[in-house]
């Protein structure tokens, strides 16, 4: 029998006993539906994190800190470190992280520049903003984050601050548009923002900057301004008015831009940094914990889906055993007519695979429909604060992998009945006396 005929015969045989086929396919459907949905959940959340990562910083930028002398979380008494600064001032920092790091000095910055694979080093100047204001309106609390090279913020209007000019430019988050007195995001672009900072002797300095764009709030703090380097320098200088010159060069962290962004280059740079007494982390490192947790949850959910599939596979075994039993005569006849045992095995295995294919396809289609509807609904209600988040997203590759995996499980389940069919003795099967 030709392979093409084998496939069409198997497909036709699948629908011979419709009720039985439908029930078996339904069992597989439950597993396939769950598996597609949980995978979609993982894909959606991880894709959102990846998008946000590229908004926070590019892959070839490391946030470098000097490795601290003591464990911050330790309850034991610690020696005073005159160089220690609170990492709460570092930016971008992991939410909720409170760690103490040793400050980087200009000498450290020079050391960093000398390391192999390093293209540029920018010390992060931690700026504590008192308030922001537009045209004498209400004053609002805000924080500042500098634009790191290669960073692509998600913008609602306008453009990102241009890092190449000396003009003082800033992008404000979407959440501040209304409070600051603008009609909409586009209205804010081009306006002048007054930013106040305090120096160590509590004198407030107000600096004016042009608003070039409005950023979408996501993982980044809802009140974070995005500043260009010129504005950052101005704010930092104002904040440190009166500080002795030899105490000025204290940075909590620095951004190191690598000459290459391949994972290998990043790893080598990290090793070099560790050897030199620094700690380097990419933004994806910092978000890596999130992804690990999400992957873990998806894995557990997938395990449940696989248990459902295992149960379904016993359904396949049962269905095909009944089928082989019912068709003993037919198998005997085909063997008498010269059909080989291998082909009989293939025929029944293909019927099992066909059941798996049907179940997984229907499962995938329904899961995509339900998942898209649910995430659209949630995007408008529960997750409206997270623009760009599609909770359940579907990756063709992972759906293909799921389908193939389910077909493989179905094949394995079908091999026992198929082997029984292949072993059948034509003489025995055709006996009727």
């Amino acid at each position: 029998m030709k392979t093409g005929d084998l496939v069409t015969t198997a497909a036709a045989n699948t629908f011979r006993s419709k009720t039985r086929t439908i029930l078996t396919v339904l069992a597989i459907f439950v597993g396939a539906f769950t598996l597609t949905l949980t995978n979609g959940l993982g894909t959606g959340i991880n894709r959102f994190i990846d998008d946000t990562v590229s908004a926070i910083g590019s892959a070839d930028v490391l946030t470098v800190t000097k490795t601290g002398t003591g464990a911050a979380a330790s309850g034991e008494p610690q020696k005073y470190d005159p160089e220690a600064v609170s990492a709460a001032n570092t930016n971008p920092g992991r939410p909720g992280a409170t760690a103490t790091v040793s400050a980087l000095t200009d000498a450290d910055i020079s050391d960093l520049r000398a390391l192999p694979g390093v293209a540029a080093v920018t010390p992060t100047k931690a700026v504590q903003i008192d308030y922001v204001q537009v045209d004498g309106g209400d004053r609002y609390v805000a924080s500042a984050s500098s634009l790191i090279g290669g960073q692509t913020p998600q913008l609602a209007a306008g453009s990102a601050p241009d890092g190449a000019t000396d003009a003082l430019q800033v992008a404000i988050p979407e959440s501040l548009v209304g409070p600051l007195g603008f009609a909409d995001a586009a209205d804010a672009v081009g306006a002048t923002l007054s930013i106040a900072v305090s120096d160590p002797v509590r004198t407030q300095h107000v600096i004016s900057a042009t608003i070039t764009g409005v950023t979408e709030g996501a993982f980044a703090s809802a009140t974070a301004l995005t500043t260009d380097p010129a504005l950052e320098d101005a704010l930092f200088a104002a904040q440190n008015t009166g500080v002795p010159a030899d105490q000025l060069d204290r940075y909590a962290s620095a951004s190191v831009t690598l000459s290459s962004s391949t994972p290998q280059a990043v790893d080598e740079a990290k090793t070099a940094l560790t050897d030199a007494g620094f700690t380097g982390q990419t933004v994806s490192d910092q978000l890596g914990t999130f992804k690990a947790v999400i992957d873990g949850i998806v894995l557990v959910l997938n395990a449940f889906a696989v248990i459902a599939l295992l149960a379904a596979s016993f359904g396949i075994v049962n269905t095909l055993l009944m089928s082989v039993q019912e068709r003993t005569r037919e198998i005997g006849l085909m063997k008498a007519m010269g059909m080989g045992s291998g082909r009989v095995f293939s025929l029944f295995s293909l019927e099992a695979v066909m059941l798996g294919l049907l179940g997984s396809l229907i499962g995938a289609v329904v899961a995509i429909g339900v998942g898209t509807a649910v995430s659209a609904q949630l995007g408008q209600t529960l997750f409206s604060d997270l623009p760009g988040l599609q909770l359940i997203a579907f990756d063709p590759l992972s759906i293909l992998v799921t389908t193939v995996a389910i077909m493989a499980i179905a094949f394995l389940a079908g091999s026992l009945p198929a082997a029984r069919g292949a072993r059948a003795d034509p003489v025995e099967s055709l006996r009727y006396e």
Partner: protein, 235 residues
């Protein structure tokens, strides 16, 4: 050498076949020798349990004897194995069974072309030859009917079309009229003997129906696994 007659189509020598072991051992055949020539019609006659079905299975190469040899055109069938054996059976033999063994949910045409499908013949060719075989049996108008929708005689004619479709050299008919009333049975018998005459297909009928056996060129009486009588028609 050229004057030597060709070997018989099927030839069995001192055939033994037993099932089971020890005290449960049952000897179905106990030394059967028989030659079947091309174009012959032969009836294997005997009661239930006489071993006639076992002999047919061995002749059709569906089973291997415990001892003795089966020769197909002088070639020892024991040397045929696996794929080769399957191919030989597919091309050489056609089967007509008392119980029809039609797949109920499939159409008549699909049932008829099953041997061609197994042989790997293309779809268009299968359809052409299937319809030709059905036409031979005046069944072409039933080609697309479901097999269950046929009467007993029509079913048996469909089965004969299936046996005929691959141009076999031998048709094995196991109680071909056992499930039919005598009028329909007579029609089916006529068809089988017409194929034997017109196409030169060797007909091997297994039956306990003496009237059917009487129409064959040769009758082999089998009892308790041995041939007890062999007679040839006067014609």
């Amino acid at each position: 050498m050229a004057s030597e007659p060709p070997p018989p189509l099927l030839s069995v020598t001192d055939l033994h076949k037993s099932y089971g072991r020890g005290s449960a051992r049952f000897d179905a055949l106990r030394g059967v020798s028989l030659d079947i020539h091309r174009g012959e019609s032969i009836a294997i006659v005997g009661k239930s349990g006489s071993g006639k079905s076992t002999l047919m299975h061995l002749l059709a190469l569906m089973d291997a004897p415990s001892s003795g040899t089966v020769r197909l055109e002088g070639k020892d069938a024991a040397t045929l194995r696996g794929r080769h054996l399957n191919r030989t059976r597919n091309k050489t033999f056609g089967f007509v069974f008392q119980q029809f063994f039609l797949t109920p949910s499939a159409s008549v045409l699909e049932n008829v072309v099953l041997p061609l499908k197994i042989a790997g013949v293309g779809r268009a060719e299968r359809r052409r030859r299937g319809l030709a075989a059905l036409a031979e049996l005046d069944m072409q108008d039933k080609a697309n009917n479901k097999a269950t929708a046929l009467s007993g005689g029509q079913k048996q004619r469909a089965v004969i079309a299936r046996a005929l479709v691959n141009d076999p050299r031998v048709i094995f008919a196991d109680e071909p009229t056992g499930n039919l009333d005598s009028a329909t049975g007579a029609v089916v018998e006529d068809i089988l003997f017409r194929l034997n005459r017109e196409h030169g297909i060797t007909l091997i009928v297994v039956t306990h129906d003496d009237d059917l056996a009487a129409r064959c060129d040769r009758r082999v009486q089998i009892r308790d696994g041995v041939i007890v009588a062999e007679e040839r028609s006067a014609a």
